[in-house]
Symmetry: C2
Subunit: 191 residues, 2 copies
Amino acid sequence: MFAEFEKFIRAQAEITDEDIKLFRDTAIEKTLRRKEFLLQEGEVCRYKTFVSKGFMRTYRISNDGTEHVLQFSPENSWTTDPESLENNTPSSNNIVALEPSELVMWTKKDFNYLFEKIPNLKDYSQKLVYRNLYLSRQRIYTAISSTAEEKYDEFIQMYPGIISRVPLHMVASFLGVSRETLSRIRHVQVK
Amino acid sequence: MFAEFEKFIRAQAEITDEDIKLFRDTAIEKTLRRKEFLLQEGEVCRYKTFVSKGFMRTYRISNDGTEHVLQFSPENSWTTDPESLENNTPSSNNIVALEPSELVMWTKKDFNYLFEKIPNLKDYSQKLVYRNLYLSRQRIYTAISSTAEEKYDEFIQMYPGIISRVPLHMVASFLGVSRETLSRIRHVQVK
């Protein structure tokens, strides 16, 4: 699992062999079966988590019991609840494995230690936070401005590999459109 | 204008008199009339901007010519296009004064200089970015999970002072619901 992370982080930032050793010494590896949880609502998120294999999904349950998908995290991406992790507050979200998954995790304390020891990590991390912010702003714009068709088209363009790995009702949930609407759109497009 | 900023930043972070002098020496003050632009689509955003008085609005125009409101920035808040500012890329957004406004602005270069000289500024700035990220995630959740009524109720609770200062169609745009739907909701609530 760590090998995938090493390859990933070396491509993202200037990282030395010593840095890799520090990452490795503090990393926790974890395997999840399908439907196993990394985080459940009410728990405090304790880890920064890298998905080295598999596919994780973040969702929140509304008062009427409906699941709403906030994030898909395939291999070579990060997943966490930043608010819960930073503030030590119970999470409102669930993070669950959609496929058998392999994770590399660091506690907040260890990651702060890595920030001190690995100068380029802070830059990389800041870029990542900014990127999340841009993507969130783009998703807000799409949510308030686009038709269901446009939302679906943008999703396919932005996440071409995801659509075949996820049940349609989860894509509908992610986009904030009904399952019936999305089925209709796909039907029309297939024709 | 700077006086409001000084009061604001002293309440937000541990800031010394020397820090304040650095802020003041690099600040640019600007007054905008109603409907004057701070940023227009296609321009590169060059400033971090604090709204010391007035009210700014960020919006984007979609292909069909419709305005979509991304952000309201009343006094004592920041407004910028983070993506354009960080990456020196043309902005997709417009930032315009909804009321006569007074702004305190710093170039990116000067703000980076302040980051070097004012240790607590980096912490404050990072908290601000994280807060933006949480609020964006919350707004995404609301956008994909809530009815128009729930969106409106959440807006009133989160921004109690804003509703009276903004035309209803801009609130509708911010929430991603039609003006007619929002009028109907308000009508029902008044009854």
